[in-house]
Symmetry: C2
DNA sequence: CCATCATGTAACATATGAAGTTACATGATA
DNA sequence: TATCATGTAACTTCATATGTTACATGATGG
């Protein structure tokens, strides 16, 4: 089953970076991602390897996006964050000679690949930019709702 | 990601039960599933709740299939073995008010359901009977291969 | 009726991997 | 050259799945 808390976490960080205008430190991202700086670096390292972000040391350093958010999709991020295979089934001993495993894989091998392909295809259809815009829309709505409450009290 | 060792394990057990003709004890299943009797009972309990198997205590007791293997498919087993949701994404704190989560879920909620549906649909297309037959075919072939090797040595 | 066999289940132990933490090295900037 | 920020190794939790022990319950055969 696909239950990725890392993707979600990273998206928090990336959304934070969009519009920041300047490098964002691991310290700052750690707050956005509700974790600590070292974990941030560890996770972001995957994105850097895929060329999605860049890191800079020293004063004024931190993390920046290397591409336009419209050119980054969620599949890119999912892969970068380290998702080996989505679907897999196997015995602990991973016995390749096991005839039961062979029968299962023969019956479902294509299915596994197909499910994975569908998942990545859909992730690929959502850009970071689109997500950011939707997020901003929700944020504005949320603020409006809060203001309305304040006015109602007045 | 879907990485179920339990389904695989259970299939070993069920294939062992098919053709046994009589109740199979947890002790015996434990060997087929490469684990121990208590774990077998724990896992099989899920199948029993779904009405796939029946358990009997005392002398001559053990586990039996309650249905024709042709009427049991892998989706039945997968569900019975305890697969809550296949695809899920969320922060540890599972904050329902989080606007990022909301944006992601809005963008991918349907995808999650679609991927899960595809996976279960494909599992549902494979019956336990079909799997058993394929397994037997492989077993026969394997034996033949071993005999050929013996003859070659002679 | 009682010894035996088998499941049912709680309680505890162990193993595995993810996440968090500490410590320190490296490089960049003022 | 003091400070800031990343890079990374090593270690410590923490959560979860699995394995184990122990004992209760129920069924069967003598």
């Amino acid at each position: 089953m696909i239950r990725d808390s890392r993707l979600s976490s990273v998206l928090h960080g990336l959304l934070h970076m969009i519009g920041a205008g300047e490098p964002v430190t691991s310290e700052q991202l750690a707050q956005a991602m509700a974790t600590n700086p070292v974990v941030v670096r560890r996770v972001m390292a995957g994105l850097r390897e895929q060329g999605l972000v860049h890191s800079e040391k020293g004063h004024g350093g931190g993390w920046t996006l290397t591409r336009d958010p419209a050119d980054i999709n969620l599949a890119d991020i999912y892969r970068a964050v380290g998702a080996p295979t989505i679907v897999a089934m196997g015995h602990r001993s991973e016995n390749p000679g096991c005839l039961v495993e062979q029968a299962v894989n023969d019956a479902l091998g294509d299915t596994f690949r197909e499910v994975e392909a569908l998942f990545l295809k859909r992730l690929g259809a959502v850009t970071l930019d689109a997500l950011a815009k939707d997020f901003k829309r929700r944020l504005a709505k949320h603020k409006q709702s809060l203001e309305d409450q304040i006015h109602a009290v007045k």
